[in-house]
């Protein structure tokens, strides 16, 4: 039996689980879309932000909404670790001939796929309703967006897995994820440009991995390289390196269960 086959089976199993749990699927996609519609239009009409690189605040929010979708999705996907542990399924998986790391890999890859699909869905649903420039062309723009979303989801899946293997309860896990990810989301350029922030907040923003995902998505959809942007090369370098490191960290500590599930 091959580890790849077991990994693929776990991947498909978790993917099917999310597809069956439709409420999770819909809320992960539609919550960011509601954000776009209400917050985007409200701020565009009410405040007419002139310093935004996109044509409207709604267009500007698309990149942030895609990143937010990935953040929500990674949290939900990693919660399946606790569901499997508490329902006894994890013990069954760990009683198979495969090392625990293979089990984790299959499950976390499913989380990456789910997050990527949901984030891409937000982008594709929003695209017809906002004015994107697609300065690299639509195909290349979508490819850049997809790559940045994949790297972001690998990074988030690794982070979620690293936390899940150290935090005993699902409630604790959600608390820590929210505490860690919401500040990162706020200071990533998802909701407002970071170059207008005070210097100390700009330092925080540039130390924030989500900033590079937002930047890559903005560059993919509506902005040419310029002073206001970090640049695709740096974005992918930072995201790729961090994704690889954090994902490896997430898989480094495998779950240990006794026969009786302790």
């Amino acid at each position: 039996m091959s580890a790849a086959s077991a990994c693929a089976a776990l991947f498909l199993r978790d993917l099917r689980g999310v597809i069956r749990a439709r409420s999770q699927l819909y809320s992960s996609v539609f919550t960011p879309l509601l954000f776009l519609v209400f917050l985007g239009n409200g701020v565009s009409e009410g405040l007419a932000p002139s310093k935004l690189p996109a044509g409207s605040f709604t267009a500007y929010l698309v990149a942030g909404s895609v990143v937010m979708t990935s953040v929500f999705s990674s949290t939900f996907s990693s919660a399946s670790f606790y569901r499997d542990r508490d329902s006894g399924v994890l013990r069954m998986l760990l009683s198979s001939p495969h090392p625990a790391r293979v089990i984790l890999l299959g499950k976390s890859l499913a989380g990456v796929a789910i997050g990527t699909i949901q984030a891409a869905a937000v982008l594709l649903i929003a695209a017809p309703f906002v004015e994107f420039e697609w300065q690299h062309g639509v195909g290349a723009g979508l490819a850049i967006a997809l790559l940045s979303v994949v790297l972001l989801n690998v990074l988030l899946a690794g982070l979620a897995q690293a936390l899940a293997s150290r935090i005993q309860t699902m409630q604790g896990f959600h608390l820590v994820m929210n505490l860690a990810l919401f500040p990162l989301l706020f200071f990533s350029g998802a909701f407002f440009p970071v170059d207008e922030l005070p210097t100390w907040l700009q330092v925080m923003a540039y130390a924030n991995p989500l900033t590079y995902a937002v930047d890559a998505l903005e560059l993919a959809a509506y902005a040419a390289n310029g002073d206001a942007f970090i640049g695709l090369g740096v974005d992918f370098l930072v995201l790729g390196a961090l994704a690889a490191a954090v994902y490896a960290l997430g898989l480094a500590r495998t779950p240990r269960l006794t026969w009786s599930g302790q």
């Binding site: 693929a8 329902s87 495969h98 302790q262």
Partner: protein, 311 residues
Amino acid sequence: MEGAAISAAGIGRRYGERRALDDFSLEVPGGSVFGLLGPNGSGKSTFVGLVAAMEAPDSGTLRVFGEPPAPALRARVGTVFQENASDPLMTVNDTLWLASRLFGVPRAQARERSASLLAAFGLSDRASDAVSTLSGGMRRRLEMARALLHDPSLLLLDEPTTGVDPHERRALWAALMDTRGAGRTILLATNDLAEADAVCDRVAFVQAGKVMATGTPADLKRGLRREAVRVTVDGLTPGQLSEVEQAAGAGQVVAQDEVLHITVDDASAFVPRLFAIAPGAIRTVTIEQSTLEDSYFQHVARQPAGSVAPL
């Protein structure tokens, strides 16, 4: 019977200060149905976990099919845990599909074995249903089918019929024996002595992490007094209990709540003595043949009357 499927010598296992297994030694013959019997917390499940390579012993030597337990060896082992381990959101078919992929069963063979196991365990018409819609007994049958899908040489059953009604229990064991296959060894950890008496070729009594006695159920019952008297009492004084223990013909006397269990040579001669000792305290008297339970109490539960570890 073949050579030993499982061989344990001087196994020790601790969890912090608690000693779960202490100089635990056992041989499980290949092809046998072997029962590990003991009260909750006696170390049965800990030993099964070591055999499944989910934990490692702190000391001693353990061999499964002649090899130290390792994850790769689990390809030859099927496991049924005390609690259900199937995803309630998955269908019955998907549960078996996942097991087949994890254990590397070729697709065509997996389809064939799934169909035959579902038929054997009476689940064919529920194959497309979610596990959450199955009754408790059906879920246990699914656990069995899942554990057998890769045709393991060793099946580890940890209290597989807990919470299952007698009808379901009989059906489950009948299906398990039908699908047993040549040479498969079954290690059953249970505290159901009647179940072990009915299905096991050999048993071991386990208490406080040690094997207290081992043999066939017949061997273990041999030498017991022939009959057992079960007496329901109300207001039996300690003095009267002591008199019962000293009465002529009394063997092992176990008191649990309001029930006295006494092994005797001749129940018809012993019962009148009981009424003479405690005429007002006896509510009911039942005379039985000696069972594995009597042997268990003789070997394992040698605590003072009234403080017997619950089975």
